[in-house]
Symmetry: C2
Subunit: 324 residues, 2 copies
């Protein structure tokens, strides 16, 4: 891993990963279409000679192939992460996740690059019967276009490992939060509370149980786990690993932490129902024994992660007025 | 199920299904791009006023939407079934399976059609650790582009069931054989033996264990199981069912049955290795308890299915000289 290509480099996780890899002395080529990525997130990276940035979209297969030339590892993070509104534009998940990943794999193949890591999601487990959910949980039924399109990416990557000798680490994330976080419940709540600090509208009944991981801990896993490689006797060089903390919280717990951090007591209005939206999963909690067995472990609790997110959003109010 | 739309209607399974539905008094609209489908297979159907045929490709979203108008059930069978050569043209599985299925779902949505059945594959289990493999086997790792692209279809269909209130039956087939069979090991062997009856080249070492189902039994399941519908209290109306016989055979068993049926004794040459090709699965045997619990059961054994296939191919030699 000397010259690293990162799709979605200007995004929340991508820009944090970029900074980490540059700090470790790697050369990084960042790729982003800036549909949700922010140039501001790469302000530090852009000052470093080991970083170069290419503006481009994964759907432009030729440009992607050209940009990737000379790299030896790909972090594929670019995605449509607009989980909640998938039903309003179903083509977006197919294009920005599934087809984009196919183009990424083909660009790797054209360039002779065989090592990669991919950001998948714990949502691929659907409404899991086994909680905490291990990677080899019973074959799930999909409940959202976002998760279905990510599962499609996983399958493609696995087939490339079997068929073309690729080596891949597929990470199934819980929700990630922290510095540069630009969507999700903490973002939504903070945005509302800026406008009306005395009142908060909450999707669902607030009892949805979710797990979160701080972006710093996420990036540590992305960097440290693939670096260990694979045992020489492994036939199919693909590892699937859940990433999360060993805890979960209720949405209303998180609201309490946010309010306490801000020193306010908003009146809460719940839209009701155990799901915040169609395809929402009322309980996500992943078994992370496999990731922990590599020596990686998260340093921050969910509460600490939420608080850091609140602090960053409060200090970066420009993010709320920027285009969505 | 009064006016039924069948994608891949001119194919092996599609044409058998078409004939069955017409015999039961349904109106059928057949859709096929004739990439592998044969007009000859629809010779009987085309004589019936209840059948209409539209030539078109699932990648032509607009034509597909128009052709589907007025139907109330869709059997989505059109696919790239060229399992073995996926690595030579990886885009074909993505386009003909995954994207084609997305267009099919969107065409249904545009037409207000909510009920469907889909032909998936037992290959989605990868190299299963649990054999016979049940539908809720541990979350698998994909080993072929074909299976990965079919899994992607399953996920999309499931997300449409959750998100748009679709009702779907997803069938994971073992290999299907019988009348109008145009690819697979019996076809390959018969084709070779026509050219040189004294000699047969076999991919792998002949010990690959596979399960087969006769197309008549397959069609019975496709017609009878979705007709039962879903219990009114089911939240997500999607059923996943394995289809196969309660037995498997070795490739070399099948060779023995074929040779006996033809009254020949070819010399065998094995290419070696436990997999016939990259992504081949050395052991496929599905648990069919779920399908059997609906009252469906296969009438023919694997040997009977192989023999019927041999008889049909011997009586329809034109199939070997037709374009592949």
């Amino acid at each position: 891993m000397t010259r690293v290509f990162i799709t979605g480099a200007a995004g929340f996780i991508g820009s944090n990963l970029t900074d980490r890899l540059l700090a470790e002395g790697r050369t990084v080529v960042g790729w982003d279409n800036f549909s949700t990525g922010r140039r501001e997130f790469l302000a530090d990276a852009l000052k470093r000679p080991a970083f170069s940035l290419v503006r481009g979209d994964n759907l432009d297969a030729e440009a992607l192939r050209a940009a990737m030339a000379g790299c030896d590892f790909v972090f594929h993070l670019a995605a449509n992460a607009d989980v909640r509104y998938g039903l309003q534009h179903p083509e977006r998940d197919i294009q920005q996740n599934t087809i984009a990943t196919f183009h990424m794999l083909e660009a790797m193949r054209a360039n002779g690059i065989k090592r990669m890591a991919f950001s998948s999601t714990g949502s691929v487990y659907g409404e899991a019967a086994t909680i905490p959910t291990p990677e080899d949980a019973p074959f799930p039924v999909q409940t959202s276009l976002y998760a279905a399109s990510k599962l499609a990416c996983e399958g493609l990557i696995q087939a490339y490992c079997e068929g073309y000798g690729f080596e891949a680490h597929i990470f199934r994330f819980v929700s990630i939060l922290g510095e540069r976080y630009t969507h999700g419940h903490v973002f939504d709540f903070m945005k509302q509370l800026r406008e009306h600090p005395d009142y908060l509208r909450v999707l669902g009944d607030g009892t949805q149980r979710k797990s979160y991981l701080h972006v710093g801990d996420c990036v540590s896993a992305l960097v440290s786990i693939p670096a260990k490689g694979f045992a020489p006797d492994v036939r199919q060089r693909v590892a699937v690993l859940n990433l999360g903390t060993a805890e979960y919280c209720m949405v209303k717990d998180s609201i309490g932490w946010i309010a306490a951090r801000l020193g306010i007591s908003p009146r809460l209005e719940f839209t009701g129902g155990e799901r915040g939206w169609v395809g929402d999963n009322p309980f996500i909690f992943l078994d992370t024994v496999r990731a922990l067995s590599t020596g990686w472990k998260p340093n921050l609790s969910i509460r600490e992660g939420v608080e850091r997110t609140v602090d960053w959003l409060a200090a970066n109010e420009w993010i709320f007025s920027a285009r969505e």
